[in-house]
């Protein structure tokens, strides 16, 4: 899923920008590059492709609308490799909107279905670097407009990257467990504007309101410190096993309208998400806080949590392998230094 998840709002309450943007409740891939294991992150997509299932992802926060709305989302995403380097994922989110103002009715419903096509273009195990490109399509009209789903498609071409710092010199070996990931996407709505016709209740005159749908730069990143990496590649400190499975991290998910912004404005919105991931052999569990960067991004600190299953590890000879292409290449005598 893309990070330009429409922040749903109750009709009549949503300010223009707040109705467009918000934190993602998506579910993302994990990746192994040399010594580095990139876990699936909650706010932005990680740089690789794999077979996996995120179910469920749950988030709760108050929107930046005036007055604010309590939004809760339950979402899931299934990602399937077609080849070793190409995957397609399908995501869906159900949204519950609960207005803070008791006189305003709430709303429930599905967001638009999303499909992401993603191709890993480069992988350098020695330098723990990986890069992918993708296209996310939000299928307009498949969700409920009462929770903010758009009636038109949105296309978001995106670049993803990840870099582990395992190649740092011995003098700063304690920084080797650090990794960064990032993504930059450009969301292009399939419709430039929507005009709503009505009648002014005071004068009886007909009215026409036009909302322009902006093109939005979806960008973000993570910085993470891998305790599994520390133990297996830098120094085994004899810490408790639970600690050795943790990856503390901070994510940033940001959205900046950059074109067709007549009614949306150009204010960047988003959240900073500190949290932690517990990584197991076949699944991971993650939880993060959602800290809005400004008033337009939210009115309190929310949270997001996720169970993420590594299908390639759970069922490596079945659903967890690419549809086309042979099994993983057998090991050959290696010559890494």
């Amino acid at each position: 899923m893309s990070i330009n998840r429409a922040r749903a709002g109750v009709a009549g309450l949503v300010i223009a920008l707040g109705s467009l943007l918000g934190p993602d409740s998506g579910a993302y891939a994990h990746e192994i590059v040399g010594n580095r294991f990139f876990p699936a992150t909650l706010g932005i997509d990680d740089p690789g492709v794999n077979d996996e299932l995120s179910l469920p992802t749950f988030d709760s926060f108050k929107t930046g609308d005036v007055p604010p709305v309590r939004q809760r989302d339950v979402s899931g995403e299934f990602s399937k490799r077609i080849t070793e380097d190409f995957a397609i994922s399908f995501g869906s989110t159900y949204t519950f909107l609960g207005p803070i103002d008791p006189t305003v009715p709430g709303a429930n419903g599905f967001q638009n279905l999303e499909t992401t096509f993603k191709y890993r273009v480069f992988k350098d195990p020695v330098h723990e670097f990986v890069m992918s490109v993708g296209l996310n399509v939000e299928w307009g009209g498949t969700g409920s407009q009462s929770v903010g789903a758009d009636p038109f498609n949105t296309y978001t071409p995106t670049i993803y990257f990840g870099k582990g710092f395992g190649d740092l010199p011995d003098t700063v070996s304690w920084l080797r467990p650090v990794a960064i990931t990032g993504q930059v996407g450009y969301a292009i709505p399939g419709r430039n504007f929507t005009t709503t016709f009505g009648i002014d209740p005071d004068t009886g005159a007909s009215t026409a309101d036009t909302e322009f749908h902006p093109r939005v730069l979806n960008w973000g990143g993570t910085i993470q410190y891998s305790m599994p990496y520390l133990k297996s590649s830098v120094i085994d400190l004899g810490l408790p096993d639970f600690i050795n499975h943790l990856v503390p991290l901070v994510e940033a998910t940001l959205q900046t309208p950059v074109a067709n912004t007549l009614t949306s404005g150009t204010t960047t919105t988003g959240t900073i998400n500190p949290g932690v991931i517990w990584v197991g052999n076949k699944f991971q569990i993650a939880a993060e806080a959602l800290i809005p960067i400004n008033r337009q991004s939210g009115t309190n600190v929310g949270f997001i949590a996720q169970l993420h299953l590594y299908l390639d590890d759970i069922d490596p000879r079945g659903i967890g392998k690419p549809i086309f292409g042979g099994p993983v290449q057998p090991a050959s005598p290696f010559a890494r230094n």
Partner: protein, 109 residues
């Protein structure tokens, strides 16, 4: 749900990641060890799993073929004195996933 059944059944395998090693990763031992033993999170395919060790001067100090038993892989070492030893491993788990990695340990007082 079938996925959860697979998850808890223990019948499926996963990527083989290094769980721990002896000598321990990044630690110091007083004298050169006779062998290095790596313990992984999953069982290994012996024919496609290997480990090399280089000593303080950069020369290979692993002596002979690595022995693989279950989720453990060991290789005997030739003595090479004090300093930093580099261990590089590359394994194939029984589910056909390949993984590799490296670490160091120190020998000295």
């Amino acid at each position: 749900m079938p996925v959860f059944l697979l998850l808890v059944s223990g019948q499926a395998w996963a990527h083989a990641m290094l769980d721990h090693a002896e000598p321990r990763v990044g630690n110091k031992v007083a004298s050169p060890p006779r062998e290095v033993t790596l313990t992984f999170t999953q069982k290994l395919e012996p024919a496609f799993s290997s480990v090399t060790v280089t000593g303080p001067s950069g020369q290979r100090v692993d002596a002979g073929k690595a022995r693989v038993s279950g989720n453990q892989m060991s290789v005997p070492l030739k003595g090479a004195g004090a300093g930093t030893y580099h261990v590089n491993w590359h394994v194939l788990s029984v589910d056909t996933h390949t993984t590799d990695g490296s670490f160091t340990f120190q020998v000295g007082p």
